[in-house]
Amino acid sequence: MTEQQTPRALADLVAAAVLATRGVAFLRPGLAELLRSSVGLGAGRGTAGAAGASGVRVQRRKGSPGVDIEVYVVLCRGHRALDVTRAVRSAVVEALAGPTAGEPGEATPAQVRVTVTGVV
């Protein structure tokens, strides 16, 4: 597994945890990145460019352990946005503490930023 693949695998792990959170409708679709990749510019490669995980960005911290996570979500109506962002953060931390996240401490989120980009 190369260094570029690991953040992508973590992004998929985070995306699954976020989507399972009550009140989350879907991740930001990432249409702009899809359009870029479809014309061969490849802008999303090496980050979390996979379809379905475009609402998740994972970045390793340079010189220190842990990762920075950015999550962009669209919520369902009828759920309080702040409560959902808190639940999303908890779900992400929990997912990255699990055995599938790799070596202990390697994927510990140093920062989890949650941004609501829409409500449907």
Partner: protein, 242 residues
């Protein structure tokens, strides 16, 4: 059904199969079913085993349809046109996300795009009788942040602090504007707390237009309102991060 309607003019469907099915007793199936639907007694059908069998099959089919309707999940009953509209709003927001407001406490890293908050407030105000919400801007209250220590924040995101909302409304002619403004403020403060979790410092209500007695602006006004909303989307998208 479409097959029957698309049948050839001589009464046969594609492939030479007769379009209408005739029962062994000589009656046409469609005619028997139609007759049963009128509740008029038919001496032949009452004593004919073929017609009775055809009607039994019809009742079975109706039962299946009725059960399927009962079992249909709640989600299927959504207004799909409205939902599709909201999804398209999300797509537009992604292309022009605009500014981002902080949610929650100072030590939380939770945010919401301004356009999503504004849309929530407009929807909350639109339920008030005699009131139509128009342009809505949300930003961090400058008075609240003037004395606060500057905090590091990602580019394109507004400083933390309670929000100030400015909303334009159209109000019916017969309504007391001061009371309506109070109602609008109350709705926005309630929506900010119950739907978003956003702290509000102030709500400025601007009565931008008056509505006629039906509570509807005329068509020209409505076109202006739609134009304004589109213009606002453009304004919200200016200077935002990609």
């Amino acid at each position: 059904m479409a097959m029957n309607e698309d049948g050839t003019p001589d009464g046969t469907a594609f492939g030479g199969v007769p379009e209408e099915e005739t029962l062994p007793c000589g009656r046409e199936l469609a005619q028997v079913w139609e007759q049963a639907g009128t509740d008029e007694p038919d001496p032949h059908t009452a004593g004919c085993p073929h017609c009775a069998e055809a009607l039994r099959a019809l009742r079975t089919l109706e039962g299946v349809v009725a059960r399927a309707r009962v079992d249909e999940p709640e989600e299927r009953q959504w207004d799909t046109a409205a939902l599709a509209g909201r999804v398209m709003d999300v797509v537009r927001l992604e292309l022009r996300p605009g500014r981002t407001l902080a949610l929650g406490e100072d030590d939380e890293d939770a945010w919401i795009v301004e356009a999503a908050a504004a849309r929530t407030f407009r929807a909350a105000v639109d339920v008030l009788p005699g009131v139509r919400a128009g342009s809505c801007r949300v930003e961090t209250d400058p008075m609240s942040t003037a004395t606060a220590a500057p905090s590091a924040r990602p580019p394109g995101r507004l400083p933390r602090g309670p929000a100030r909302v400015r909303i334009e409304v159209q109000v019916g002619l017969s309504w007391n504007l001061r009371l309506v403004a109070d109602d609008v403020r109350a709705r926005i403060v309630e929506a900010a707390d119950s739907e978003l979790g956003l702290r509000i410092a102030a709500v400025d209500v601007v009565v931008a237009d008056l509505l006629d007695e039906t509570g509807r602006p005329d068509e020209a006004d409505e076109e202006d309102r739609l134009d304004e909303e589109l213009d606002e989307e453009d304004r919200l998208g200016e200077g935002g991060p990609r």
